[in-house]
Symmetry: C2
Subunit: 213 residues, 2 copies
DNA sequence: GCGTCTATGTTGTCGCCATCAACATAGCCC
DNA sequence: GGGCTATGTTGATGGCGACAACATAGACGC
């Protein structure tokens, strides 16, 4: 809430605002979480941050730009979460299950935020996603890749550690399955007759499928 | 284009409009395909259909309702496509690869339409998706379930044909993987160093993973 | 200290939108 | 043939995104 800018005055109304950019991202994030949608107006975000309806344009080119920053924050949170999980478990196959389940849980904790991270608005026409998003997403993906490489080196997974294409397909398959399941679950398309241990069961289906037997 | 209403007059300006509901869905579908987004206005849809900006409200409660109809049409098209593919191949494992690849291709042919089918707007708060959508999605899912059941009965897949939970997990795992890959590919998150036979390679990873060996 | 520069924030404005309400019309059924 | 109802149209209202013109407060040279 309070500013932490270098050289900011102590108790006054802080600077111009303090750190409006940050406040706007926070406000947008809160709105995404509350409304489970990002159809809210930029003006509403500005209102939340206590500034005029046009102040955001000093920090973001447009609404999409702001949402991109929100998505970016999501990728960072996801990556750090997965990194911790990957380090906690020594066995590569169990580590893969752990980050798979953790990934899905992350998505289900804030469905709209997760959806936003992969939302159509951010792909920006046919030019592909902006570089910053690609980078942030790549960071999360790399955690998965590390674990798979670890398992391949240990001879646990069905890919030679030096076969980049085979490893790439494994990474993509794994990512696709957890990504897809996360979305199917939040869309309530999984069917209700199944237990709520679905994430783990599916993750084990994945791991058992790529394990050397 | 021409009306097919019972008792419609022959050559005149047909009835009030003919079949506005259908025209609106078609116009919206065209807009989704063109703009690869559904941020267009309801008024734009009305313009395309050649009616006033308020006419759509006689057929749809609001914009979301119209988009729901568009999504529904997507599920129907997907289901019929998968049904054909599933019937074309006798061997269950190859049939699964075929519908997996066909599924992904369907999504990539019209990314925005595919995304809309699973879009957040349609989940309607925390009450879950409307019944019509659940039904349409279930139809597509059932094609997958049929093939997996076929393979289980043939002893090709790692699930007993009478173990509903195991089969359910297999269905969900398969759906999740193709769904996830479809979205990752359209988000350009798959990485560019990989060949464009990715869909088939991933589908085979899936099938090899659940095949009895 | 002081004047200027620039980043940041505000006010005002425009065209557009979703949605509601009131009104018009045309095919239908008795 | 006359009312009924489904379907379309016209006309608001409040809000929004984006732009432009203006205001202000720190920064920085002197």
């Amino acid at each position: 809430m309070t500013p932490s800018r270098p050289g900011a005055s102590e108790s006054r109304q802080p600077y111009h605002h303090g750190d409006l950019r940050r406040s706007l991202v926070d406000a947008a994030l809160a709105l995404v979480a509350e409304e489970q949608d990002w159809g809210f107006s930029l003006r509403e975000v500005a209102r939340r941050a206590g500034v005029s309806h046009n102040a955001p344009y000093n920090h973001f080119a447009d609404k999409r730009d702001l949402l991109g920053a929100v998505a970016n924050a999501g990728y960072e949170a996801l990556q750090s979460r997965l990194t911790v999980l990957a380090a906690l478990t020594a066995a590569p196959d169990e580590a893969l299950v752990a980050i798979g389940v953790g990934y899905i849980r992350f998505g289900l904790e804030n469905p709209a935020h997760y959806r936003l991270m992969f939302g159509p608005e951010l792909v920006a026409g046919s030019g592909g996603p902006p570089a910053s998003l690609l980078e942030a997403a790549g960071g999360a993906k790399s955690v998965l890749a590390e674990v798979l490489l670890r398992g391949a080196r240990a001879g646990v997974f069905k890919a030679a550690p030096d076969d980049e294409q085979a490893l790439g397909i494994l990474v993509l398959s794994s990512w696709a399955m957890v990504h897809g399941l996360t979305l199917l679950l939040m869309d309530r398309l999984a069917g209700s007759a199944l237990p709520d241990s679905i994430p783990e069961l599916v993750a084990r289906t994945l791991v058992d499928g790529i394990r050397v037997r």
